[in-house]
Amino acid sequence: MKILIAGDGRVGSTLARQLSAEGHDLVLIDSNGSVLENTEEKYDLMSVQGNCASMQTLLQADVEHAELLIACTGTDEVNLLSCLTAHRLNPKIHTIARIRDPEYLEQAYKMRDAFGLSLTFNPERQAAREIERLLKSPGFLKRDYFAHGRVEIAELRVEEESRLCNVPLTAISGIVKCRVLVCSVLRDGQAIAPDGRFVIRAGDRLFVTASSDNLAIMLKNLGVVTHKVRNVLLAGGGMVAYYLAQQLENSSITVHILERDPERCRKLAALVPHAQIVQGDVGDQSFLDSEGLANYDALVSLTGSDELNMIVSLYADSKEIPQIITRLGHVENNLIIDSLPLGSVICPRKLCCNNIVRYVRAMQNQSGAALTIHSIADGHAEAMEFAVDEDTLHCGEPLRQIKLKPHILLVGISRGHEVEIPDGNSTFSRGDHVVIVSSGEDVILQLNDIFA
């Protein structure tokens, strides 16, 4: 499929990596030639230098034969104009635009036909949603939801003192006293699809599937303290902080925002009156102390600088704050980040890329496409939810008789309100939703692709 990506920023290059790995014909448009050259040397794509909102540049990128335009420059107006122009030049093209300004959100939705938009995305808002979920379910580094929240994949780090250390997977159910399935393990930066004999070591990050209730039981039996977050400190008052504060407005969590820029503070105070805004430099540790950092249940570092976020989170860790969430823009150096006590790491651009990849795959095959896609284990594995329909093979056969491709696990079957963590005797039938995890390189476009 021919796809144009307008804007070679963080989101653009992440999309280029994901989509080129799936074998699409990519054309990348940006006005900065040296950035383009850099990306072109990394991924197999063509680059066009120019303004992505101008007709001339779009024609040069052969918009007339493209099937999708993803506009992800830093400016909302440019993205909208780019989609509008592309749609004029090629009425059949699908367009996805990044809209970040909260003031445009409603109008972009209501005027989507006028703008020719198929989808909009907002990395900051998505990051805020993700953070909200983490704050409401402490104990896990990350939680991904499938089948309307009935199946979850949660990420858990095994610490030295954990009861799971040096335990083979077959024994895990006995320790946590409920049915869970370890679908992937991240060790030394590599995802492993484990079998029963796999022995867990300290430092591993486990990706566990279970129903939401069982996950709570698991945490309790593992002895992980599940405190309830009552007050949270947001270091940095950018877009994510704004969306997060807004989402937490009617919850029991009190939000405190620290922001350096006095103007921004005044703006935030007007936009989210229920939050407490404090002006000051979060890089200053005495300022954090004077704001009573040690008394908070959770800290989220959300400044625009990765370095500052890491320092703030490390300082919070030294003050033994129970839950820490760190926003990072660059997550390429996984191994280094893994070794630091940064708590959950949130990368806005990665979150929104999952949605776009799902949209692209759905365009490729209209029926039987994945309903949800989450990339887990730092992008080394993918968890997908599919609906079982009349075309699905092997309906009603017990799982032990079905041969799956290597590196593929079936980790959950949701039937109505019931959730089943499957074993060899489980079956799926029409109308069920199944969740699979793939750690291989094959792209799974539809459910039947998983069968060997």
Partner: protein
């Protein structure tokens, strides 16, 4: 330095070479020339075995392939390919000295067409075919061929652009379509189709198939090895015209042909490099025709010979219909300048390239105007687009390196004691991948008289000229070989 990955590419290069050599083996068996047959059998087996060994030891190649690896891969790959490619000539005894055989095949792969043979008709047909086919393969590039046929990068890797940049001609190499494999395929499809059309035109002129193929290979790669001793002189005017026109076509940037296929005729016609190239051809043909009036029987014949020689030398092919060494000095001076300018970027031709000349000239004009008015700000545009200053800087430095290598080679070659015109034109003819020069290396003569040292220097010049200097130059820098 990722040696394993490079070895993997070498394995592919040699494997492809062994497969392509089977054509000549077939011809040799058909002709019953047993000595040549054995030479080809031994070479194919040896090349294939080395390829298999290299492929075996590099099967677990790691990732990490950058500019340096790309340049080294292309530079060394071409040398390796030439070392194996010359074996049939040497083993069969058709060219007894190894350096001569190497000179001949490097001259083939680099599309030079300079020969050490006094009479090419002494070679067997199989060797003649291999010699001409090497032009065709070298013209568009063996790695570009690999990129088109073998899925080297698994889906997402963009590093193959380093290979294409190192092997293709011109200052800024880009993709035609999003995927590297398809870009390489488009280039080769255009190349194959045009070669086939050329063969058909030659067959219509009553040429036999073998000669038509060899001539078309020489034309398409802008190489210049002929099957006859007098190059194109004894063929009919029809065949000479066809060859002259096709040489001209193969000297044009191949992306122009792709744009024509997309029916973007306007942007092709407005291409400044193409205009410069065609302008040079027309201008030079007119001047030489005027200079030569009265030499040939008719004006028409004069125009044909002038046009053929101009087309042959600006595209750096090196075919000839007459011995232009006997022409007046003015005509020879024009031909010498055309030799140095060369064809368009992105074509199969060699030389300095029209686009670089255009950039140098525009930059010169800008600098001159800034002498009068130092604060005037001007940007250089080509085809309506602003050219990045860094491209102008690289073009300037390319020109410097080009001149330095030219002069150094000239000094070394002069040790052999031939005339200045001979030595200078020999270096120009090899470095720009043309073939014949003037006087003792003129179209009626050959390079066999040079010493081994001079031949080695000229071999390096030919490789450096075809690969646009850097891939060969970095081989002499010890930092290239150091670990990172």
């Amino acid at each position: 330095m990722n040696y394993k990955m490079i070895a993997r590419f070498f394995a592919f290069i040699l494997g492809i070479e062994a497969i392509l050599m089977l054509q000549s083996l077939g011809i040799s068996i058909y002709d019953g020339t047993s000595r040549t047959t054995w030479a080809f059998v031994i070479t194919v087996v040896a090349t294939g075995a080395v390829a298999a060994l290299m492929g075996f030891f590099s099967r677990r190649a790691e990732k990490g392939f950058y500019v340096r690896e790309g340049l080294l891969c292309v530079g060394m790959g071409w040398i390796l390919m030439s070392l194996f490619g010359c074996l049939p000539f040497w083993i069969s005894g058709e060219i007894p000295a190894f350096v001569d055989a190497l000179f001949e095949i490097v001259s083939g792969f680099t599309t030079t067409g300079a020969s050490i043979l006094a009479n090419s008709e002494t070679l067997t047909r199989a060797s003649l075919y291999w010699r001409s086919f090497s032009h065709w393969l070298g013209g568009m590039g063996v790695l570009v061929f690999l990129l088109a046929v073998i899925p080297i990068s698994r889906g997402n890797e963009g590093f193959t652009i380093h290979l294409m940049r190192a092997e293709s001609t011109g200052p800024s190499v880009g993709k035609l379509v999003p995927k590297m494999r398809q870009t390489a395929a488009v280039l080769y499809i255009v190349y194959v189709v045009m070669t086939v059309i050329n063969v058909i035109f030659l067959l219509l002129g009553n040429m036999d198939l073998f000669e038509a193929l060899c001539t078309a290979f020489g034309t398409a790669g802008t190489g210049g090895f002929g099957v006859k001793a007098d190059s194109m002189g004894s063929y009919s005017p029809y065949i000479q015209t066809v060859t002259a026109v096709f040489m001209l076509l193969f000297g044009i940037n191949f992306s122009c042909f792709y744009l024509l296929l997309l029916r973007q005729v306007k942007s092709v016609l407005k291409d400044e490099e193409l205009r410069l190239y065609l302008g040079l051809v027309i201008g030079a043909t007119l001047l030489i025709t005027l200079n030569l009036l009265g030499t040939f029987a008719s004006v028409g014949e004069t125009i044909l010979h002038a046009f053929f020689q101009v087309s042959s030398l600006i595209t750096t092919t090196g075919f000839s219909t007459v011995n232009y060494d006997l022409w007046p000095s003015f005509s020879k001076a024009i031909l010498l300048i055309l030799m140095m300018i060369g064809s368009c970027a992105g074509s199969t031709g060699g030389g300095f390239k029209c686009i670089r000349l255009l950039l140098l000239f525009k930059n010169m004009r800008r600098n001159l105007s800034q002498i009068i008015r130092p604060r005037r700000v001007r940007v250089i545009t080509v085809n309506g687009k602003t050219v990045d200053e860094s491209l102008i800087a690289t073009t300037n430095s390319y020109f410097s390196i080009y001149m330095v290598i030219l002069l150094l080679s000239f000094v070394v070659v002069s040790l052999d004691g031939f005339s200045i015109a001979t030595n200078f034109s020999a270096v120009i003819a090899c470095f720009n991948n043309i073939g014949p020069g003037f006087e003792a290396v003129g179209p009626a003569c050959n390079f066999s008289a040079y010493s081994v040292l001079s031949k080695l220097v000229l071999i390096l010049d030919m490789l450096a000229g075809r690969l646009e200097i850097y891939p060969i130059l970095i081989l002499f820098n010890y930092r290239t070989w150091k670990k990172r």
